[in-house]
Symmetry: C2
């Protein structure tokens, strides 16, 4: 009932662009800390069954920057071989090295992925806007594929390097058919609102469902949020009913749950929750520098969410 | 005349550990922005001829984080094939992904490099000390080679993630034959002094020659500094004469030159200086997000250094 807004805004309604609720899927690891493709496929299928319209695999929550380029390529290929549709995928491909960013982006485009979510190069701090522009221009020129759709990934609390409103405008102007959207994980609603106001039709995804309803009311394309890994159904419900009478009430519930989860270390907590409800301790593993929660910390997360928010996950029926 | 201090401190005098003046060699690029191995080899030979005791290739100044893992491996292999001795090399091998750090470190150790300079994983901010400890422990265990010598790379102004004095101590205690030193690019002399005081025998390199003489007087192993790319001879002169009567005067000259250079964007300025004195404009190229200096900016750097410090480079006699 709500897709008309985003599809009306789309510059290319025939494209398979992703809108709605996207999960930056968690990446499970084996005992030797190699990526666990089998568990990842199951998780991705479950996320789609929960109402995710797409999967922003290899995001911050996915520990993607703890994965090598080859590991990301192999995981993406496994997802596709196991039947996840490329039209549902927006893999993260932005690395510090332009050669890595080109390679991952080429791989994703050739596999038919709907788009790529690109971090700016984040090692060197305070790069010039001209330097960031040249980085993206070079990647787009080297990939040289008119199927490429780039979503800029703005997450200054982690990457430190981000996209100013004028830089976004310069990239849209130079590459209007390629630079089509942005995930805003600044956590700053005024920044999201400024981008939405400045560039109508540009597909903006707040990086937290806290801003989903406010975002939709200003023309956002949906949201891409860590907590979609455990609460996609409720978030999708807001997306589907944002014009309804109870939209604010539904939003307040997902906001409260998000705030409860983010009071804990986010990625270890999400993995602990999945491990608990799947009765699969292997799910709790993380690559250093992340450290898994102690069992008492994990218990506290699970109890807090269950007691205060009636939160539970039922995997019994899951594939 | 000055090596007795460092060799007395060494836990293993028979090893080929590097002390003295190390350059984080600049990485030249071809017109298509691929790494230019031929120019890199010439630059490295010249740096050794200028008094560098070793080369910390693939450091921050080398734009190493703008290179892929394969590009670093290929450049290292070319340096070795062209006769640069592995005992002179301390390549940077620390990446965000533990799999990349293991791969690069294994490659360097198998090629016989004297040591590796390892950044901590730097994407995720404020990692726990336990998480950083586990990262290094895992790399050391996965490499599983008793030739491995790790130098920790502490550069919080860029990486944001660094090594506290207690974390350094924990790593030394757990891996006394492996974690043998640290480059301190904090720019904070009190931090360098605290590490030198806490861990006698640990090979500490200030990340700037500004702290060379103070460092040597407290037992530092030398320095590893960006500006060694253009002023290694003068820096080596301080290292060789630090007990001499004119040590403070020599130090003040290299401090003044360093401060003059660092008033400009460091990496573009160093490349502009090399390009000018080699009469080789190709040297000025950088990978985005860095941007080369305009010709008027480059002229200003060259004039400032020449006028105020009598600085020039003579490549006529160089190999």
């Amino acid at each position: 009932m709500t897709r008309e807004t985003t599809s009306q805004r789309s510059a290319d309604p025939a494209s398979h662009r992703l809108t709605g609720v996207l999960a930056p899927a968690l990446t499970p690891f084996r005992a030797d800390l190699s990526p666990d493709a089998r568990r990842l496929v199951r998780h991705c299928r479950w996320l789609l069954s929960q109402g995710c319209s797409g999967l922003a695999v290899f995001g911050t929550t996915s520990e993607a920057n703890s994965l090598s380029v080859e590991e990301r390529e192999q995981l993406l290929d496994t997802l596709l071989e196991d039947g996840i549709a490329p039209e549902r995928l927006m893999p993260g491909t932005g690395c510090c090295a332009i050669s890595d960013s080109v390679r991952l982006t080429l791989h994703a485009v050739r596999r038919g992925c709907a788009g790529v979510l690109m971090l700016p190069p984040f090692y060197y701090k305070a790069p010039s806007e001209e330097g960031l522009f040249r980085f993206f221009a070079q990647v787009i020129e080297d990939v040289a594929d008119n199927r490429l759709k780039v979503y800029l990934y703005h997450i200054p609390p982690v990457a430190q390097v981000g996209f100013s409103v004028p830089l976004i405008g310069r990239l849209i102007k130079e590459f209007p058919d390629v630079v089509v959207g942005l995930k805003d994980s600044s956590g700053d609603w005024s920044n999201t609102a400024a981008i939405l106001s400045a560039y109508p039709g540009f597909e903006v995804f707040p990086g937290s469902e806290v801003f989903l309803l406010d975002g939709l009311r200003k023309g956002a394309a949906g949201c891409i949020s860590a907590t979609c890994n455990v609460s996609a159904a409720a978030i999708r419900n807001v997306y589907d009913n944002w014009k309804g009478a109870d939209a604010d009430k539904l939003q307040s519930e997902i906001t409260a749950l998000r705030k409860a989860i983010q009071a804990f270390p986010m990625i270890p907590a999400l993995k602990a929750v999945i491990a608990h409800y799947r009765q699969d301790p292997a799910w709790a593993r993380l690559r250093p520098p992340f450290v898994d929660l102690s069992s008492s910390e994990a218990d506290k997360v699970i109890r807090t969410l269950a007691d205060a928010h009636g939160f539970k996950l039922d995997f019994a029926k899951a594939a």
